[in-house]
Amino acid sequence: MSSQPVPSAENAVLRDKIRGYAAEHRKEGRTQAKDSLRLGLGQIKDEFAAQDNLSEKDVHGLASRIKRRKHATSEDLFRLALAFLQGIENINAFAAIPGALQVLIKELTGSDIQKQIDSAECLCNLSLGEGHVAEKISSLAGSYMVTYLDGKEGRLKRSCLWTLANILATSEKAAQQLLQMQLVPKLWKLYAGEGASAGFQEDAGICLHLISTHAAHHVSGEDREYIAYHLFSMRPEDPGSEYLMYIIHQLEIVELHHGLETQQAECLVNFFVASLGSQAESLPVSYGVRVVANLMAFNNPALIGVLADDNIFVPALNKLFALRDPRLNMDLMRMLRNYLNLNLLDSNLVLDRLQVYA
């Protein structure tokens, strides 16, 4: 007879929960460890007083040295990266030296992967500069950074994403240039494509939200179509998922000429329903309402998936009205108007069950 206890279903559930918790904890730890390496401009002077203080003169010296040798060592790149973090004057000094940036690009595109990473991190700090610096980086190094988004080296890819985010937040002209390099499809692949990996979803999502905010009118019709055709299901707990509805709404993906396929629309509706537990101020809710309202405006019940069922739609709407956010309520009324316009059932039946605070 076997003396081993038979694992019960309860034990299995508990084990799963513990495993899930441990995995989440590890992920959180990793994120914190990664984030701790990131600093704003000048922050290093306040928080790391022990670091070398590098002046414009040092930057000139380093730039002349790398130009003379036509290559930069890892130590040169480290010192330059540190100098850029310390102040805008160091960035401007470097950007004003003709030919210095080309040496960084040479290292970025060389065969030594470590140097590629070092130069990408150096460029990331350089991108903390103003518009003219961002434009210079995008025109000279943008194509390589966009290319590396398809590469295998994770750290290089992440550094490129960070640099691209800084550029997109700084200059519309630079953003427009990057968009011509097919940045949107590449970012979308990392964010929500079939091969999206958790490591890059957040950073790719940040880049896409910056494009949606600062350069939405430069996004081409083909790029919008690409997003529409490559919409895959996303869960609210996925990294970077808070930007999904914002990106979809700002880039007007739903309102495209051909509209969305039922399957893609369903992904959006399911994501919206799953994120209903969030706060009114949260991006998935406030922009999700607008996206779903626009799906309803097509007058095609097939596009609104589970929300076509009033037993799901009415409680969802009541939950959102219960948040008592006047800004959200106006969009909810638009959504309700579009829903009633679908003529799925008697509108009085819906209105009688609604709980809208006076």
Binding site: Q114, G142, S143, T147, D150, E153, W162, M181, Y287, A358
Partner: protein, 222 residues
């Protein structure tokens, strides 16, 4: 009582109908007020760890493995490329005889754009380069350009080939007289498992043959 209290808190059907009467139907545009909160972003740099610089100075053995793992290398010429698409282009354009033959035939564009997402194809590397510069704002000296080395490679071997054949003809007359006609040892299967490239060297003869065949066919048809 409770039901009445609840009703007084919530808007009645009539109130809702009145409000909805003022609400427009259709899409909510991104500029429509009231604008919800936008996500915030703060520009951030990265603090490079000195440990990474130390690791970079250490012997290159570990690095070599890393290079192989983290990039795409051509099995034929060991060239390292950063993406699968660029490696694909390299293999096709540099090592594929069928591709070279198709390019020579020139009936359809064969050179794909450097960007995987761009579906355009071009007749020559030059046209592709122009497209990348004009449309995708690539730099003129894009470093992963496959096309720029090709003409050099193609021209030189051909020149060398023609010279070597000339030399062979000159010297061969004396050498071959002295040496016996020895075939290469193969020990089993022949190593060359591709289309016979020797035909290229005698391209003039082949063309003549085709011409003569065409003439013959025309004669028959007449």
């Amino acid at each position: 009582m409770e039901l009445d209290a609840a009703r007084s808190i919530f808007l009645s059907r009539e109130d809702l109908i009145k409000i909805l009467g003022d609400v427009p139907v259709g899409f909510i545009k991104r500029s429509d007020p009231p604008q919800p909160r936008r996500p915030t972003f703060k520009k951030m740099g990265v603090l490079v760890e000195i440990q990474d610089i130390v690791e970079a100075k250490e012997p290159q053995k570990a690095f070599k493995n890393r290079t192989n793992d983290q990039s795409y290398s051509c099995a034929e010429c060991r060239k390292i490329l950063p993406t699968a698409h660029l490696l694909d282009l390299h293999i096709t354009e540099q090592h594929d005889f069928y591709f070279a033959a198709s390019v020579d035939r020139g009936d359809k564009p064969m050179f794909s754009c450097f960007l995987e997402e761009c579906s355009e194809k071009f007749q020559s590397p030059r046209k592709r380069k122009d497209h990348c510069i004009v449309v995708h704002k690539f730099p003129a000296n894009y470093r992963f350009d496959q096309g720029k080395d090709k003409p050099k490679e193609k021209r030189h071997p051909k020149k060398q080939l023609s010279h070597s054949m000339d030399v062979d003809d000159d010297a061969g007359s004396s050498d071959t007289k002295d040496l016996p006609n020895v075939k290469a040892f193969t020990f089993g299967h022949h190593t060359l498992r591709t289309f016979n490239s020797k035909k290229d060297r005698k391209s003039g003869d082949t063309l003549e043959d085709i011409q003569s065949m065409k003439d013959a066919i025309n004669d028959i048809l007449d």
